[in-house]
Amino acid sequence: MPDVAPRRAVRIAGLGLASALGCGLEAARSGLRAPAPTPRAWRLDLLDEPLTVPVFTLPGTDSLGDLSGAVALVGEVVREALAAAGVPAGEASRLPLFIGTSAFSLDRDAIDPDADAVPSPVGVQPVLAHRQIVALVERTLGGVGDTIAFQTACTSSANALLSAARMIEQGRYARALVVGVEIANAATMAGFAGLQLLAPSIHPFDRDRSGIVIGEGIGAAVLQAVADDGPGLFLRGGGTCIDTYRVTTSHPDGSPATALQARVLARAGVAPHAVRGVKAHGTGSPVNDEAEAAMLRAAFAAPPPVCALKGYVGHTLGACGITELALMGAALEAGFLPATPGFRTPDAALGVSPTREAQAAPDGHYALNFFGFGGHNTILLLERRA
């Protein structure tokens, strides 16, 4: 690796997505202009006191624990991103693979990636964790290059994107494949229920917000080094920081994320007033939105338009970095910033009112915020050029 890295532009050359809005980027683009879907009530019967959890599910998902639909979709999503980027078949099997998911691979009942039919015996907890994801991508492409799995909770795939972009900027790779996967499972649903963070519906930055709604998502992106700054969607870097206020809660004054935002913009040479919009993390939980609102007020003298996307697809946890990047990509390529489903009544204490309707998105820079358990904060900076 060279001592002084040549700075190269990183273009988001291809995106793939499966979410509650459907399969494919085009379905997502249409879904972002339509009324948001409603989550499905999933019942977790294995507890003495059965639990019903609303979840934004993937299309084709029939029951909790049946991963056969998700297994097939991983391949579809990866193929969509590769096709959009025009990656030759011979190169695809050698692409470096950056994975983002919140799940370590630990369950003996985790799926066997070589099996087409995935059993769902009663009482097991199937998961799609990083080793299974690597195996599924490998099976789809006939091989993979260097692999790194990122596991920083809800910033996992955002950090996968960031590291991939930095390695491309520095000339280590010409292209990279980033994949994020999060499938509902018993441990996640019960864990969030135990934390009392679940709500029946999601209302980011709303006076009546009461918690998160989990979502399933699979996203893929092909990042590619480009020598020029022609049209397209570019990843202009970003940054991470660790906020040690509480393991589950960002500092309510938003100061760690505010400092991070300043560093990200300074490194990219972008003034705060030049940011055209912000994709908030916007979980709809009372404390997260309070911290993020404080950060937005502090980071921008005059905040740009803010949208939050979890009302469309739920909180896709370790995959939200890539699923929400794909949603933003779909919207920005079509020239609009999406509305924020679930936002009805402003909370005067927050001072942030996200978009109520889709609005025109000009060329320029857009900040994407992601916060995770363990104090991990990540901000990505996108640039859209028509």
Binding site: M1, D3, A5, L46, L47, D48, E49, L51, S102, F104, S105, L106, D107, R108, G123, V124, Q125, H130, R131, V134, D146, T147, I148, A149, F150, Q151, T152, A153, N159, S163, R166, M167, E169, Q170, R172, A186, A187, A190, G191, F192, A193, G194, L195, G239, T240, C241, I242, D243, T244, V247, T248, P256, A259, R267, G372, F373, G374, G375, H376
Partner: protein, 250 residues
Amino acid sequence: MILRIVAASHHYRPVGDSVALPSLEAEVAAVTRRHARRIDRFVQLALVGAGACVRGHTLAPDCGLYLSSGFGPVGSNTVVKDALHRERRLPMPFSFINTLGSSACFHVAAELGLTGESIVVARRRGSFTAALQCALTDLVAGAASQALVGAVEECILPAKRQLALLREEEGTVLAEGSHWLLLEPAEVGVDATSVEATPVPEAPPDAFAGYESAEAARLTAAVLAASEHTFHLILTDAGDVRLLTHAPGR
């Protein structure tokens, strides 16, 4: 970029049904100033290793924190599975939080006052090298001026259960460990030709065979075994780690 190894720590303990897992509380207390509550053994291992590595050293304000693990917090994952499947109840909140490797990062950062770049990565039998690659990338990018890079592996007993969780065959080495390096860009004038390449491991080649983070164990053990040397490391374009030494007096 060549990296200078400022400090290292190495904690490694083979475990099995005939060897009980000792408490780590005293070891944690010896290297920490704050009393972290509701932590699990994975977090304790991270604190022990990171604390020992940086003791006596001043960390840069933008020091990055890079944690790697092949299997992550198996203890808390097991506790959560038992709550769901055996006890048929919701898991305790902090057991659930501790199933995430990022929880260990949080406690290390809180203990050491770190606020900069931070990630948790995994790669089958190569997690530590993956973390080194990420650290190097951030150092080159100017996102950090110093990097604290660690590998942590936890085991649970009985061994049969650990082996089943990991889908490993009997005979696989079960061990817990915490291996850390504090790294900085090499001094001006140091390059690959001015130092002597030392193959890794220096320890007996099979000392850590079968251990998930064997690469980290070999590296940190080699550094600590020759503490009179100055060590550097480079990552080759092929992704291999090469340890380089300055012998004393050179």
